[in-house]
């Protein structure tokens, strides 16, 4: 499903080189649920961005869903992304659309038949506990609600692979537990999951394999 081989990512900020990822190699099989744990700035987001080709690696090979990711052409990138659901760390909700429209927008853009859209959107919102706020605009949501809306948007598409970048960052512990349950549920239905967090407890809560990042290095692969 996912295979990284000696991947490096070095950013240049002016003359300064920032090595965000150093020599990362790992493999995730279809159907696995893997937690990516690391402190702020460890490189979690960068790693996920490499997988859906929002960044290109400085060096190394990346294979996702059978595609040689760095070698993809524009049209193929779009095809790859259609199979991947991403929960962005900063939610990226469209401010001009309600929660319902935000989720429906992505489905429509991807060509989902019209009559399927409403049930799928409401199903996803119900699962993240936002049904009551479907008509609210992002500015009318608390940050935790926004993160759950972003999660709903990612799972409504029923992706083969779910990349969740700290979907619990702004959630209190009980709600974070609920999100973990949602992710477990999606995983149980057959989606491969890669879940990034800086909270060691959450990483442990899933009782699954955990990859530990420390300043861009993969220091431990446990479980």
């Amino acid at each position: 499903m996912i295979e990284l081989h000696r991947v490096w990512k070095v950013f240049s900020v002016g003359p300064v080189k920032v090595p965000a990822l150093s020599d990362i190699s790992f493999r995730v099989a279809k159907g696995e649920c893997v937690t990516l744990h690391g402190a702020s700035g460890a490189g979690k987001t960068t790693l996920l961005r490499l997988l859906y080709r929002e960044e290109l690696p400085t060096e190394g090979d990346i294979e996702v869903l059978g595609c040689d990711v760095p070698a993809l052409r524009v049209r193929e990138v779009a095809a790859l992304r259609r199979s991947i659901g991403v929960v962005f760390q900063d939610a990226k909700l469209l401010p001009g659309r309600t929660v319902y429209e935000n989720v429906a927008f992505v489905l429509r853009v991807l060509g989902t038949p019209r009559r399927e859209i409403t049930p799928r959107v409401f199903d996803a919102l119900r699962r993240v506990g936002l049904s009551a706020r479907a008509q609210a605009y992002p500015a009318q949501l608390s940050q935790g609600e926004a993160q759950r809306a972003a999660l709903a948007r990612a799972i409504a598409r029923k992706p083969l692979l779910l990349l969740a970048d700290e979907p619990t960052g702004s959630l209190d512990e009980s709600m974070a537990g609920e999100v973990i349950d949602i992710i477990k549920d999606i995983w149980a239905r057959g989606t491969t999951v890669l879940f990034a967090t800086h909270q060691a407890r959450l990483a442990a809560a899933l009782h699954q394999r955990t990859l530990h990042l420390l300043s861009g290095r993969l220091v431990k692969d446990e479980g």
């Binding site: 524009v74 990138v77 779009a78 790859l80 199979s83 991403v86 401010p95 992505v106 429509r108 991807l110």
Partner: protein, 294 residues
């Protein structure tokens, strides 16, 4: 899907709100100016044709020819290149014309003991003859006729005509180019604005792997819609201005350009203007997309 895309295009326009209105108005003005210029140049072109019809070369004859000689002479001149028509003016006809011209002073002519005016040929020019070279050649050929006493007129008018036409062509190309640039600038500015408003949407589309068509089409449609709206409004504006100002303009145009009637744009020109607006808008939309492509 198409419904969705058109819906998105309309949503964009609506969201851009007053700015979209401003952009459409600007497109309207650009296209109206373009159309107005087209109108003016159509009419001036017609005026130029009329002027050509009025240019005459007069060939004064040494003596009044007999009827048979006259026919033969007219035929000979008619066959020359650059000649549209020839008319023979006898001595008495010339005096009649002079009297008409003198009007109040016609008594002068009546007091004459003999008719001092010569017979002449009035030569009208066709398109080839109305160019400076054509006219020069014709004048030379006419002067060389044995019957000719003197050839007068024509040349300066032909020169003016040629100069005026060249000038109109240059001005026309210049103004046309400037207005087209203005229209494109307007549409691109407006579409760029819409693009800024849509930036986040485009990013999400890109990130979830929306097909290129879905990303581009709303912008294209929105640009085309904007252009079409602008064109339709421009045409209405032109019609309104023509209806209001036309009757007042006609006398003036009559005096300065010698045109009897103003012509409005032909139906196919109107359709052309609308097509041009739509394509211009679409082009602007397409361009704007290109700018922020990853």
């Amino acid at each position: 899907m198409l419904g969705f895309l058109i819906g998105e295009a309309l949503r964009d326009l609506h969201r851009a709100g007053r700015v979209a209105v401003a952009a459409i108005l600007l497109t309207t003005l650009s296209l109206a100016a373009l159309g107005g210029f087209w109108l003016v140049s159509t009419n001036v072109g017609q005026a130029a044709e009329q002027w050509r019809d009025r240019v005459r070369i007069t060939v004064f004859l040494k003596q009044e020819p007999s009827a048979a000689e006259t026919d033969e002479l007219v035929d000979r001149v008619q066959a020359m290149p650059g000649v549209a028509a020839v008319r023979y003016v006898s001595k008495s006809e010339a005096l009649g014309t002079l009297k008409e011209v003198l009007g109040k002073d016609a008594s002068v002519a009546e007091q004459l003991p003999t008719n001092p005016l010569p017979a002449s040929l009035e030569v009208m020019l066709n398109e080839a003859g109305a160019t400076p070279e054509g006219a020069r050649g014709l004048i030379t050929r006419l002067s060389e006729l044995p019957e000719t006493d003197e050839v007068s007129g024509g040349m300066d008018w032909v020169d003016r005509l040629a100069r005026g036409r060249r000038l109109l062509d240059v001005i026309g190309l210049g103004i046309g180019a400037v207005l087209a640039v203005a229209a494109i600038l307007t549409v691109t500015t407006a579409t760029t604005l819409v693009l800024h408003l849509r930036r986040q949407e485009l990013e999400i589309m890109r990130l979830v792997g929306a097909p290129e068509l879905v990303v581009r089409l709303p912008l294209l449609l929105q640009g085309m819609l904007q252009g079409l709206l602008g064109a339709v409004m421009a045409i209405w504006l032109l019609i309104a201005v023509y209806a209001l100002a036309g009757p007042h303009l006609e006398p003036l145009v009559n005096q300065t350009l010698g045109l009897e009637r103003l012509t409005f744009l032909k139906p196919h020109t109107v359709v052309g203007l609308m097509l041009a607006g739509t394509m211009l808008g679409g082009f602007g939309g397409w361009l704007a997309r290109g700018r922020t492509a990853p």
